[in-house]
Symmetry: C2
DNA sequence: ATCGGTGTCGATAACGTTTGCGAAACGAGC
DNA sequence: GCTCGTTTCGCAAACGTTATCGACACCGAT
């Protein structure tokens, strides 16, 4: 900035004013400074900016891990940042190997300095530092007052279950998600609600807890399918689990959907490409990322708006379910 | 830091020394300061650190877009950062809608201040600012001296072509990638090399340029498959294009692999899940991300080592190719 | 001629760190 | 008791910005 000032024959204060579009500098000076800036390829130092003004126009998005689910959110969020004056920075908490509390530490390091706010896509929600804005996506906790974006997990689960019921299935298995996640809780609740509303009793031996990951789903899926009197349909709490279930079914010599109907949840891109394209409940993941970042920006800019966004879910029929 | 200093009864200078493990502070003082730090949850301000010492221990990885390919790289890179003192920040250049040169600007903004070095996963490679370390993955340019990590695209393409040839195919189509990418160039070169070495003449009408993306692959694929005398096999320059080609084939009433063999390149996770699981050339994407970050760290720390890493490719046979 | 208003600019303090250097304290050796 | 080396610590400057405030020039009106 000192260089720019010297070459343009003005003071650094004036350069700063030009860069930030402040009032009180002559048009001729503005043009001159702008030209020198372009010529030198000058970019303001984020560090110094943050240090002085506590404002950087950089936002963060923290994901637990880079995988399809969060990638879709990232895509949506980065799309929302486009065209605005904000830049988006993503980082992951490293693997779950690291000790608990990493979200807080990881956030503290950046929040104090470099970023003006953050979207959290992490299993456990974390207290935001003072004067720092946070939006949680699909958060762990119940209503804490923290701004959130999620999809209607309960209604989606009802949708999925009703779909299986309408196809004539009665012996329906449920493969749950991470028990500490609100979304997993709601999906199971939706399943039970739809069952009881249809007057079908839930066979508790058909309910297993997974963990949203292929590795944690395979075991429970195998249990479910190995019993002599096995379910005719399985509702898996997310697509990755559903696909894992499908593979277990294949390995047991079952065909899908003839021997077993499977329905998932999430509609990640992979599910459409599965060996048997997966019937599932779609969450508008990209849109959730988009909305989360919009909400964050509005929060920072002091816009008065609803701080809870719930997006609708929808059934997408593909080939993995059929009438009994 | 001032708070910490006050509560510990020392000066800020001493706190700084404790945090950075500098020599010259008594063990008793260290313990006292550490305790206060934990108690207050103090984290140093990145901005101030960067401003003063030009060193933050934060590394960046810039991807053109968040999609499966870069997600795998991100996963590998973040894995490499784990356990080190470095933290990894990812960001994308927004969509290709933005004007050219965004890599340079985007990089300049962060490189000057917040990050010590960066891994670039972008189509066009960009000149690194002075004293700033950069590693390019699968870069555009030829050998520019810039440190790079890539896979052996040429050998991989030869592998793919030989596979098709060994299955008896002679009328082989080639669906290229983005012409401005080195990897795309090398894959076509490998294809041609393997063909000529086998004494098979390349039918230029069977060679089409795509663009690595499903949208840009569909048109050329349709051209290739709509001719009356169509190829019996297609080598697509990446998996996304191969999958798109597969879908075009289906829409034309062709079955894979009976009517048409298809082989891809990359082995993204989706390819194993394709309607007909895709035979492809695997690049160790996660490992490439891992190696790129390791290389970057070594560069920063002044380790004397080879600055070009080339990883092997391998044929993975799945169901989308068969003997003629 | 004086005055007030307006438009334009620069000097300067502050943000939270790191680091070189000097000061103080302490113990050992004579 | 004095010197000298060693250990431990704090002072203060610097990093690149931004914001406040005062200086100055110019103009029109009195």
């Amino acid at each position: 900035m000192a260089d720019v000032a010297r070459r343009a024959g003005v003071s650094v204060a004036t350069v700063s004013k030009v860069v930030n579009g402040r009032y009180g500098v002559a048009q001729a000076t503005i043009d001159r400074v702008r030209q020198v800036i372009d010529q030198l390829g000058y970019e303001a130092s984020l560090g110094a900016q943050s240090l002085r003004s506590h404002r950087t126009n950089v936002l963060g998005i923290l994901v637990a891990e880079f995988e399809p689910f969060s990638t879709e959110l990232l895509k949506g969020a980065s799309h929302a940042a486009e065209g605005t004056e904000y830049q988006l920075l993503a980082w992951s908490g490293g693997n779950r190997g690291t000790r608990v509390g990493w979200e807080r530490r990881s956030l503290a390091r950046l929040s104090g300095s470099i970023i003006d706010g953050a979207v959290l896509v992490t299993p456990t929600v974390v207290q935001a530092p003072q004067g720092f804005h946070v939006v949680a996506v699909d958060p762990h906790a119940g209503p804490t007052g923290m701004p959130t974006v999620d999809s209607d997990n309960f209604a989606g689960a009802v949708l999925a279950t009703q779909h299986l019921l309408s196809l004539g299935h009665r012996r329906i298995g449920f493969l749950g998600g991470r028990p500490d996640l609100e979304s997993a809780r709601l999906r199971e609740a939706g399943f039970r609600h739809a069952m009881s509303e249809a007057g079908v009793k839930v066979d508790e031996r058909f309910v297993r807890v997974g963990g949203y990951r292929p590795e944690t789903a395979e075991g429970p899926a195998r249990e479910l399918l190995s019993r002599t009197r096995r379910p005719t349909a399985i509702f898996a709490a997310n697509d990755l689990s559903a696909i894992a279930t499908m593979e277990v079914a294949f390995s047991l010599g079952l065909t899908v959907p003839d021997d077993l109907s499977i329905i998932g949840f999430d509609n990640v891109p992979e599910s459409a490409l599965a060996t048997v394209p997966l019937t599932t409940i779609t969450q508008p993941l990209q849109r959730m990322g988009y909305e989360a970042l919009r909400l964050l920006i509005d929060l920072i800019e002091g816009v008065d708006r609803d701080t809870h966004v719930r997006l609708p879910t929808q059934l997408v029929r593909r080939a993995s379910t059929r009438a009994i």
